[in-house]
């Protein structure tokens, strides 16, 4: 047993090794970097999952409406899209649960609703196409600055007004005016077939036009404003007047945007439900163009409006299946139109117009 020296000697510290210190510092730094990089990857993964979730959402929606609507399609086959009898009696049969004689309970022929959708949509888009192009030209080219300063909020306002307010205004301003156009004679001539009132094809189409105008104006004027000014100046320098320059150069260059505006306007018009439920006239009916002027006053009930008007709250009933079939048709058309609009706008990116 050796005696320990007191006080114990402290072994001298190792001389600082600069290389080792550097290594340690480096390792700590690297660990920090790796941790940050891992966090970065986690963030990327999380955000990517979120983004991919939108795809799942669309898939879920498609599956939901298809699965719930399938019984209706299956029971009717292609006749679902055809014209066979009055939808009013068919809806009533489904509500009461007593099948129409010779037909399954789910018997339904949606042509009057599809025809109403087509008429109101095509009518509104046709008017809005002309009006929105002219309005966009006016806003980008002709309007003096004060007028332009008023027009921008005006278009924004029209885009923001809820559809239920459009319905209210249509009911109280447009419908009485349209009703004034219908002569008593005309009403009496058809009163045993269909009741004419102020609410009908004409009223619904007019209000629908105003509703889809803002988005079309915005898209078109965005593209018109982005046409390189050198193109226009070249035309003006050749002695072409301003209108022809706009028509031949700007509008032609903005054609993809006009097409895409039309497509998006169509999608919006297809999906409008509340306003059309208020202004359509409240009866599923297929207006006949052969009826002359009466055609414009006949009631319509487009697909989307029919969902609002006829559906209770249970998807698992005959009427539920029928209504989900409407939803499936609307969803498919709207999705196709949106994709078409997106595809049409891609060439515009060349000009740097990222709408």
């Amino acid at each position: 047993m050796s005696a320990e020296a007191y006080p114990p000697t402290i072994p001298p510290a190792a001389p600082p090794n600069p290389l080792e210190a550097h290594r340690q510092r480096h390792a700590a730094q690297l660990a920090g970097h790796l941790k940050e990089a891992a966090r970065d990857r986690r963030v990327e993964l999380a955000l990517g999952t979120l983004a991919a979730g939108t795809l799942a959402l669309i898939a879920a929606m498609l599956v939901t409406v298809l699965v719930n609507g399938w019984p209706s399609f299956a029971a009717n086959g292609l006749g679902w899209f055809g014209n066979g009898g009055d939808p009013v009696t068919q809806f009533r049969a489904m509500q009461t649960g007593t099948a129409l004689p010779g037909h399954p309970l789910l018997y339904f022929s949606a042509w009057p609703l599809i025809w109403g959708t087509l008429l109101s949509t095509i009518g509104a888009v046709a008017i809005a196409l002309v009006v929105s192009t002219l309005a966009a030209i006016f806003i980008t080219e002709f309007a003096p600055v004060p007028v332009r300063r008023v027009l921008e909020p005006v278009v924004r306002l029209l885009a923001g007004v809820p559809s239920v307010i459009y319905g209210l205004v249509g009911l109280l301003l447009i419908a009485p005016w349209v009703e004034g156009l219908i002569s008593t004679q005309r009403k009496e001539a058809v009163q045993y077939v269909v009741q004419l009132s102020g609410e009908g094809l004409l009223t619904a189409t007019l209000v629908l036009t105003v509703m889809i105008l803002p988005i079309m104006i915005a898209l078109t004027s965005g593209a018109l404003a982005a046409v390189p000014s050198a193109w226009r100046e070249g035309s003006v320098a050749l002695g072409v007047n301003r209108w022809r320059t706009i028509w031949r150069v700007s509008v032609r260059a903005a054609r993809p945007a006009i097409v895409s505006a039309t497509v998006l306007g169509t999608a919006r018009a297809l999906g409008e439900a509340i306003m059309l439920a208020m202004l359509g006239g409240g009866r599923p009916w297929a207006p006949n163009p052969l009826d002359g002027l009466t055609f414009f006053f006949e009631p319509i009930q487009p697909l989307a409006a029919s969902i609002v008007k006829e559906f209770g709250d249970n998807p698992n009933t005959p009427i539920g299946h029928t209504v989900y079939a409407f939803g499936a048709l609307l969803l498919f058309s709207a999705a196709l139109l949106s994709l078409a609009g997106w595809a049409v706008r891609q060439p515009l990116k060349r000009y740097g117009i990222g709408i």
Partner: protein
């Protein structure tokens, strides 16, 4: 003779092109443009003026403090729109609280990461598709989805155990889907407008993408995100179809579920102003036009206020962008209208 020779030659200055030199068809088209522009103003003015006149004449203070009550015939004094008004605020808050983080996240991924490329392009068109889906179809989807037993904790159940699927939180989630494309669009635009040097400066300091996004990019695009959120709120406030199917018809009251104050309300049912208007409109089941006008006036005021807020925010973000990029402020940024996306 010599005097006239000394006169300087008259200089023919090119005058500004006048409309009178145009062909008739072109002049007609020019006139049409003016007519359309003025027509738009007249339509907007007509709507606002009509709702003002009808609304103010139908508005009574008691409408704001009374709950909707049955009684079609006693239109004069049978209930107001206290519950729908509160419901509008609740549903807007819930919807936008869900839509904003989701939308900002998706937009950030689209602009800053976007890997793999094909997924980014697919997501981009998916957002576009969601923007085009009619709200009535969203309502059908939500009604089916939230009536599944696994979502029974979100809404009331009937006595036989079937889940109703009607509640503020359910409707709010579907409303968030409705507002999502607007939030994504504006945020994306705001992020794309930031100059590359902001990102590069942060990377040069050794910061990762995630840190750059959180500390540099998102704070700088705050106003853009805010205007997207306000646009989304405008969309939510005005939507009727989702409310009618997923929350309650226009005459219902706010009915909480269970005792807990906030959660109970969120899981309970109610209604909003838009559904109230639909119900009491002349074509609706309630058919008390005066109530509909009064509520329509209030709803239009909310929409106008949100609109003004968007305009302010857009102008401000334009100004901020101009300050960042060192160029003059652009007043007429038509192509940057957030809701055109």
């Amino acid at each position: 003779m010599s005097a006239s020779a000394a006169q300087p030659p008259t200089i023919v200055r090119p005058r500004r092109e006048s409309i009178s030199s145009w062909p008739l068809a072109d002049r007609l088209a020019y006139g049409l443009c003016w007519a359309v522009g003025i027509g738009l103003c007249v339509v907007a003015l007509g709507i606002v003026a009509f709702m003002f006149v009808k609304g103010i004449s139908a508005l009574r203070p008691s409408l704001f403090v009374e709950s909707p009550a049955a009684g079609v015939l006693q239109e004069k004094h049978s209930g107001g729109f206290k519950d729908p008004l509160i419901g509008t605020f609740i549903i807007t808050a819930v919807g936008i609280a869900i839509a904003t983080p989701l939308g900002v996240g998706i937009a950030t991924w689209l602009v800053e990461y976007a890997r793999p490329r094909w997924l980014a392009r697919t997501v981009e068109s998916a957002i576009e598709t969601i923007a085009g889906i009619p709200s009535i179809v969203l309502a059908l989807f939500g009604l089916y989805l939230f009536a599944r037993p696994m979502f029974s904790f979100l809404s009331a159940s009937a006595s036989d155990g079937t889940v109703t699927g009607l509640s503020f939180i359910n409707a709010g989630i579907i409303m968030a889907v409705l507002a999502l494309p607007l939030v994504v669009g504006t945020t994306r635009e705001a992020l794309l407008q930031l100059p590359a040097r902001m990102r590069e400066a942060s990377f040069a300091l050794g910061k990762t993408r995630a840190t750059t996004i959180r500390r540099v990019l998102l704070p700088s695009s705050r106003t853009g995100i805010a205007s997207g959120a306000v646009l989304g709120m405008g969309r939510i406030v005005g939507d009727t179809a989702i409310i009618v199917f997923m929350l309650g018809i226009g005459s219902s009251k706010i009915e909480g579920l269970g005792g807990t104050p906030v959660l109970g309300t969120l899981r309970g049912t109610g209604t909003t102003l838009s559904a109230y208007i639909y119900y009491y409109a002349p074509t609706g089941d309630g058919n008390s036009p005066n109530k509909a006008y009064a509520a329509g006036f209030v709803l239009l005021m909310i929409v106008l206020a949100l609109n003004a807020l968007v305009t302010r925010l857009t102008l401000r973000s334009e100004g901020e962008r101009a300050a960042v990029r060192g160029i003059g402020r652009r007043m007429w940024a038509w192509e940057r209208w957030p809701w055109s996306r």
